[in-house]
């Protein structure tokens, strides 16, 4: 079998739209900034359209891997160019499409080195798309690193608070993760005796002994866990979020952290299910610590971006908790939470970005009464904050409910602890909203203009997506279920 192509390679077309976008930008003279932005918008729009199409066209009655593209790449090593879409990665491909498209719109007012910014952003998104759709460990790793290295220039050049420190810390932490993942991948290929990097082939029951699975699981869990912001390896993430420019924060918190969580799912859990069951209690404890820790550290912050960044740590803890339950509902909720949190955080950073661009501060005590000055811009932030608290009507509500129901069944004590912490965080978030957007206004900002329709567009899209999946959660839960049920059914018990 050398070649197996679907009638049209939609998945590769998404990658290609990023590559072509990148190449076109490279050939535009650097002074033509508007053209660069336009080209970025067009090609990110194509990628978004394709990912929406895939999401809708996926046949839920059949399930399994669809839109498969498989080419033999390096024969002696068993490397394939192997892409496929299933219920696990389709939500995340859609998420990436949405966040990149809205990210480009959010950065519409960027000045200074515009060409390089959008070029690096395309490389980053290319890596993320590739990572989500790849079914070959070699390519998975390649995409993983491709998505990481543009983060350094993106944060270090266009970032804000302590940007060089944040960029370097992020870069080295995330690549340290890859130092565990690469030996793990090679170990799987060799230890299984199959000498292939094909995930589907390595998934066969019996390919790896229980001992090997327990060992390899640790490598992948730690390696990808760093990127997923698993406590205690999260320390790069708040610093990096805060330092990054708005759209990079959006992609970073919205999508890149999901790369880590998805890596745990696709590699660690898929290939080492016995290791998963063995280490699940440890995962659950770390995830719960992450939830509680993120909330308590967030309580002490006065910088709005730090507040959002630490809430990301705790929300990613919810994903981890869902994954650690080893139940169908837990997996389903975890994947849905990846999507919901991605959209929600993107909205938080996006609306925060507008306020910061105008006021040049993100310190809560300096702001205040912003809802009178810029009611619409404040509205977006408040909506996102409400979604973050798990208010019904938004996608994250369903995701969190699903995770917590399964967590309460499997780990009652940890589940109760996490829910109590979340209630506390809701109270706190309300106080942040109150102090920033209501109460005594700051005279200095009274003259500022509210967000215009065109600049508000990306935020509108994000709100619409959150509400859509909040009102009709089965649009997504059913899709994820098509992947979860066969996977859980195939587990060796």
């Amino acid at each position: 079998m050398s070649m197996e192509l679907a009638n049209f390679p939609y998945l590769s077309a998404i990658l290609l739209s990023c590559v072509v976008g990148l190449l076109v930008i490279l050939f535009i003279p650097r002074e033509r900034e508007a053209l660069v932005k336009g080209v970025s918008l067009v090609f990110s729009g194509i990628a978004l359209a394709l990912s929406i199409y895939l999401y809708c066209a996926y046949d839920r009655t059949i399930g399994g891997l669809q839109f498969v593209e498989k080419l033999l790449w390096v024969e002696p090593l068993g490397i394939h160019y192997f892409n496929g879409a299933d219920g696990f990665n389709l939500p995340l491909i859609l998420l990436t499409g949405i966040v990149h498209f809205t990210g480009v719109l959010t950065m519409w007012e960027l000045r200074g080195r515009v060409k390089e910014f959008f070029a690096f952003a395309f490389v980053l998104v290319l890596g993320v798309f590739g990572f989500f759709m790849s079914m070959d460990l070699f390519f998975l790793f390649v995409w993983y690193d491709v998505s990481l290295f543009p983060m350094y220039p993106l944060i270090a050049i266009w970032g804000t608070t302590r940007k060089e420190y944040g960029a370097l810390k992020l870069f080295l932490y995330l690549l340290a993760g890859s130092a565990l993942v690469l030996p793990g991948i090679l170990y799987l290929a060799v230890a299984s005796g199959l000498h292939t990097f094909d995930i589907v082939a390595l998934m066969q029951p019996g390919a790896l002994t229980p001992g090997q699975q327990r060992f390899a699981f640790v490598l992948f869990y730690l390696g990808f866990g760093i990127l997923a912001g698993v406590w205690p390896f999260h320390t790069w993430s708040p610093v990096g979020h805060v330092a990054a420019p708005t759209s990079v924060s959006m992609i970073h918190a919205g999508v890149l952290m999901k790369v880590g969580a998805f890596g745990i799912l696709r590699v660690a859990i898929f290939l080492c299910p016995i290791g998963w069951e063995f280490w699940a209690p440890v995962m659950a404890v770390l995830a719960t610590i992450g939830i509680v820790y993120g909330i308590f550290v967030g309580l002490r912050q006065t910088d709005l971006k730090y507040v959002v960044a630490f809430s990301s740590v705790s929300h990613m803890g919810i994903v981890g908790l869902g994954l650690s339950t080893v139940t169908a509902e837990g997996l389903n909720g975890a994947v849905f939470q990846m999507f919901a949190h991605g959209i929600m955080t993107a909205l938080l950073f996006s609306s925060l970005g507008y306020i910061y661009d105008k006021t040049h501060t993100k310190l809560i005590p300096d702001l205040g009464g912003m809802s009178r000055v810029m009611p619409v811009a404040s509205g977006y932030f408040i909506v996102a904050a409400l979604a973050g608290m798990g208010v019904p009507g938004f996608a994250s509500f369903w995701a969190e409910v699903t995770v917590f129901i399964s967590a309460l069944k499997v780990y009652p004590a940890l589940g109760v602890l996490a829910i109590c912490a979340l209630v506390l965080s809701a109270l706190y978030m309300l106080r942040v909203v109150q102090r920033t957007f209501y109460g005594q206004g700051n005279e200095r900002y009274a003259h500022l203009r509210d967000v215009s329709f065109s600049l508000g567009l990306p935020r509108m899209i994000l709100v619409a997506v959150m509400v859509l999946f909040g009102l009709f959660p089965r649009l997504m839960l059913d899709l994820i279920q098509t992947a979860v049920i066969p996977f859980m059914g195939g587990l060796p018990r």
Binding site: D145, P153, L180, V190
Partner: protein
Amino acid sequence: MKWLIFGPEIYFLAVAAVFLILSMTRPNRRRDFSAALFLASLGVAVTLATIRLEGSLFHGAYRIDLFSQLFKGLLSVGFFLVVCLCSSLSGIHEARHSEFYLLLATCTLGMMLLVSSLELLTMYVALELASYSLYALVPLRSGGGQQMEAGIKYFLSGIATSALMLFGLASLFAATQTTLISELILKLPALLNTPMAFIGLLLTLCGFFFKLALFPFHIWAPSVYQGAANQVTAFVATATKVTAMAMLVRLVSMGNGNTSLAHVLIALAIVSMTYGNLVALVQKDFKRLLAYSAIAHAGYSLIGILSMNPTGYAAAVFYALAYLAMTFTCFWVVVKIASDGRDVPIVQLAGLHRRSPLLAMALMVGVFSLGGIPPTIGFTGKFLVFNAAMERGYFLLVLIAMINVVVSLYYYIQVVKAAFLLAPDEELPPIHLSAPATILTVVMVVVIVVGGIWPSHLFELARAAVQALL
């Protein structure tokens, strides 16, 4: 017709003769460069034309096969690329330009003889021809005084290792009663348990460890990299490394999976990677940083060789090829920035993205490739090497190597940061690249990226070459 297979060697001898004659005439910078460029590009053509030839000369002491011809091809490409760097050659006094090209040609000739020699004494003579050319090339730089220090360091440590190597060759001969590698391959595996044969093989390897700048034979590297003219450093950093990797593959493959030998090599690889990367962290000069990074890379390439399986040797050959491309790209940027032939401290890379966006991009690609970030040829090389080691079950070695890779990224990212981020103290003029220079820059970037994305053909070539060897 039998001598046709000896074509590349004869050709480079003729090139040397041409420059010998030119060196007796009045110095002329333009003429020397044009002649060198023409002869070098013709040399690439001549060598590549013989790549599929096979045969044996001098009663089996000299063999032409895909392995040797592939490396001769790489050497001729390396020679051509280094000549491309010499368009201004301001680091060397104009009167000595012909001698510079002459020594470059004899050095290339020596290394070409080396990769084909299948007899210990031939090997030694070829190695010394290459070495003595380099001993003369290193102090050729004009001005300063550090080139003399570099030259003396290189010479003294070089002849000391030669002595070790001779001792090793003698021991090998004493143990096996032969100097022909074809006979050694048969006799050596059984004898490697005896101290004489084992030490003999190890000391023989030392001669090439020295060229590869593997710890503990690295002491010359930082001084020579910094002290020699940029073009000479580029040659030392690319062509000689490639040859050393080839010879190590050839010699270690004689050991035929001996575990004690593997253990010694593992220790050397680990120490070399760790030492090179840790010391590189504090370097301020870009060429010196590349020297320490070369010590680390010596360790990575050794991982492929010490795996002692066909995949490992093929991975090492691929790595040699990748190393040539990415190191040259870095030196290309150095030479273009230092048009007056001076050294380049890392802080002087500041503002490069404005002075020449293309060079800044080439530097980033080259440096990230050295750091092993996909999709570059450097990543693929590392992946292949680590894969081979994993097949032998060296999990810890791979893990240590990967940790080293992460450490090394710290100093590579400092270079990228300087080129893209830092504002220069004083506004420097833009760097204008001529049309051929622009093309070469783009070609190097494309080679690094495409070699990383589509390694299939190159890897097949490396495997076929190793097949010819075994």
